[in-house]
């Protein structure tokens, strides 16, 4: 069980827990996200992460789990800088993720991308992005490919409430609507963009209305309830696949600071306590118990097992190799094409004349 999740995230493993495959499975996904993100925090504290620009998605698990559960194998997606949870929900291997976050050779991007540029073509992950809004138009392109080549796939852009004020979003939504593309825009509204509360960034926080005004299927859902998210995302993905692009805003709360160095001094303790009550993992667990779909012991056991899996991801990341210096010049361009000349090679030529 130690390496559960490696490539298996698209499969249901909920048989372990109880009768309601769906909720149990979603719970498991969310718990894995929560545990992973906690380990990312630990990696940073242990000084083993590459940098401190690590954005945890704790509190946002339902958006990731619910929407990804509505996606099919050949679907594609892009994420923002806070995308670990989404990628895990899609089936990523936490060890390779953690290794990437540590900037190691065994990471998804060989240590070149890190937390904010993780990607995996095998799982249709067209890439996380460190530019707020930067990954949004790519899904319109993926939707175009899907339509032109009749692939039947949907492409999903995940981004935060901050990206709602980036112009390229509206250009992208307009094109998706104009061309009837199989595209879904998912705004994970965690109430903050860094230190800016969403109502400090706009007068108009009913984001779904903006999408509607551009001709999209614009909807909103509460990100506390993962089943509700999965349900609406499923409907919207179906509609998108049929040529009616959608926009879904999922409300939740960013439990912790923006990145690892941020202690959120701009919000008070009471607000945070209130916000953290909106915990989708606890909510799902309570429902599993209340509806007798699982007993506490089984869930505790599952949680513990996930904890061990994620601990192992840290060990894996720390043990992994750093990329060798030759990696620096690789993959600027495709292999076999003219490559950039290293500084030293040039200097040798310039200075070795005599």
């Amino acid at each position: 069980m130690q390496d559960a999740g490696a490539g298996q995230g698209l499969e249901a493993r909920a048989g372990d827990i109880g009768g309601n495959r769906a909720l149990a499975d979603l719970y498991r996904t969310m718990r894995r996200i929560r545990s992973f993100e906690e380990r990312v925090g630990e990696l940073f504290l242990r000084g083993e992460s590459a940098g401190s620009m690590l954005h945890l998605s704790i509190g946002e698990e339902a958006a990731a789990a619910g929407v990804c559960a509505a996606m099919r194998p050949h679907d594609t997606f892009t994420t923002h800088h806070r995308g670990h949870g989404i990628f895990l929900a899609r089936g990523a291997d936490p060890r390779r993720m953690m290794a990437e976050i540590a900037g190691k050779q065994d990471g998804y991007c060989q240590g070149k991308g890190g937390s904010m540029h993780i990607a995996d073509m095998g799982l249709g992950h067209l890439g996380a992005n460190a530019i707020v809004g930067g990954g949004i138009p790519a899904v319109v392109g993926a939707g175009l490919s899907s339509k032109c080549k009749a692939l039947g796939s949907v492409s999903v852009a995940f981004f935060g409430d901050g990206a709602m004020q980036q112009g390229v979003l509206y250009e992208s939504m307009n094109m998706a609507a104009l061309w009837d593309l199989p595209v879904l825009f998912v705004c994970i509204n965690n109430q903050y963009g860094m230190g800016t509360r969403v109502d400090q960034a706009t007068r108009a926080t009913d984001f779904e209305k903006r999408a509607q005004a551009f001709g999209l299927n614009g909807r909103a859902v509460d990100g506390l309830d993962v089943e509700a998210v999965r349900q609406i995302a499923g409907d919207m993905a179906d509609a998108a696949r049929a040529g009616r692009p959608g926009f879904l805003t999922v409300s939740c709360y960013r439990f912790f600071g923006h990145a690892r160095m941020d202690k959120s001094p701009y919000r008070d303790v009471a607000e945070e306590a209130e916000g953290r009550k909106k915990d989708p993992v606890a909510f799902a667990r309570d429902r599993l118990l209340a509806e007798a779909l699982a007993d506490a012991a089984t869930l505790d056991q599952l949680d513990a097992e996930i904890g061990r899996e994620m601990d192992a991801s840290i060990d894996f990341a720390i043990a992994a190799e750093v990329p060798g210096p030759e990696a620096m010049f690789r993959d600027v361009f495709a292999a076999g094409e003219p490559q950039p000349e290293p500084l030293r090679t040039r200097l040798d030529r310039v200075l070795a004349r005599r």
Partner: protein, 325 residues
């Protein structure tokens, strides 16, 4: 042999490539029904239909971003910016996304797209429609950059760009579209990344690209009447940059002028001059001389416009001073 315009050569390259490769789609403003602001894609919509000649809204950031996503998922898009001046709107998608994706993602995937656009002066189009911004592109690791001067190269470089695994910025010159040449498209051309020596002489080497190649050739013809023989190198692509040809020619001759229609400071001419100086220092009899656009915006007034970029007169005059130095 046939007589063809630069515009027609581009159109032919697109049409042939699209016929051979069903994954090529053209995405941009007015590329379909209108046929392109400068007529390059005229009537292609008749052959390839609106699903492959995709007219877009006026959304330059998204046009480039959509091409990136399409290129990552199986298409080979040709995105078009109507003017290179609009790069300022699209630079994030071009430089932060298209150029870096292969690298950031550890080589998992490339972005085989071509960004076609056009630049330069010659139409009194003013400060926001007359720029030569190739230096921004050349400075961005991960991008290829082609700037054809001749009709044959308009054809061949575009065909070649449409086979490459990495993003290519393809900058045409607005004053060349109507240029006619006798060409044999079946005749051999230098391979991608190789410069062409358009004229050979022993008195100095002139290195340039795009429209300035023709100004340089005209100047060389003038100079010849005064007994000065210039070599004129047409770079054809700025990435890859053909250092070998530069080195060989300049080492032979010992004097070099580089010309760019872009603004002088921190422009392409600076890169060319630096390269030549580094590679040929021992052979240089005098500094590499940069002739480039003035460090001013381009005015709409036709006299000011023409005066602010290199032309035949200043090239010839400077060459003569260099040779008589």
């Amino acid at each position: 042999m046939q007589t063809l315009t630069y515009r027609d050569a581009l159109r032919r390259a697109l049409a042939e490539a699209m016929t051979e490769d069903a994954d090529i789609v053209v995405i941009g403003e007015e590329v379909g029904r209108y046929g392109g602001a400068y007529g390059v894609t005229k009537d292609l919509i008749q052959t390839f239909g609106p699903d492959r000649m995709i007219d877009t809204p006026i959304s330059e950031p998204a046009i480039v971003g959509v091409a990136v996503g399409a290129a990552m998922t199986g298409l080979r898009p040709v995105a078009e910016l109507m003017y290179v001046d609009f790069l300022g709107l699209s630079m994030d998608q071009l430089a932060n996304q298209a150029a870096k994706i292969r690298y950031m993602f550890g080589g998992q995937i490339g972005v085989p797209m071509v960004l076609r656009t056009q630049g330069g002066t010659g139409r009194s189009a003013g400060a926001q429609h007359s720029q030569s911004l190739e230096a921004w592109v050349m400075h961005t690791p991960g991008l290829r950059l082609a700037m054809p001067a001749t009709v044959a190269d308009a054809y061949h470089l575009l065909r070649h760009s449409l086979t490459l695994p990495d993003p290519v910025v393809f900058i045409e010159h607005k004053a060349l579209y109507a240029r006619k040449e006798q060409v044999d498209l079946a005749a051999p051309v230098p391979p991608w990344g190789k410069a062409a020596v358009r004229r050979r002489g022993d008195d100095l080497v002139i290195v340039t690209y795009s429209r300035q190649v023709h100004f340089a050739l005209d100047a060389a013809a003038l100079l010849a009447t005064a007994g000065i023989e210039a070599t004129v190198i047409d770079l054809r692509t700025l990435n890859p940059l053909d250092i070998d040809t530069l080195r060989a020619e300049v080492a032979r001759v010992g004097k070099a002028m580089v010309i760019s229609e872009g603004a002088l400071t921190a422009g392409v001419a600076a890169e060319l001059a630096s390269r030549i100086a580094e590679e040929c220092f021992d052979f240089l009899e005098q500094p590499v001389v940069r002739v480039a656009a003035e460090d001013v915006p381009i005015a709409v007034s036709p006299t000011l416009e023409a005066a602010s970029v290199p032309g035949v007169a200043i090239i010839a005059e400077t060459a003569e001073r260099m040779v008589r130095w």
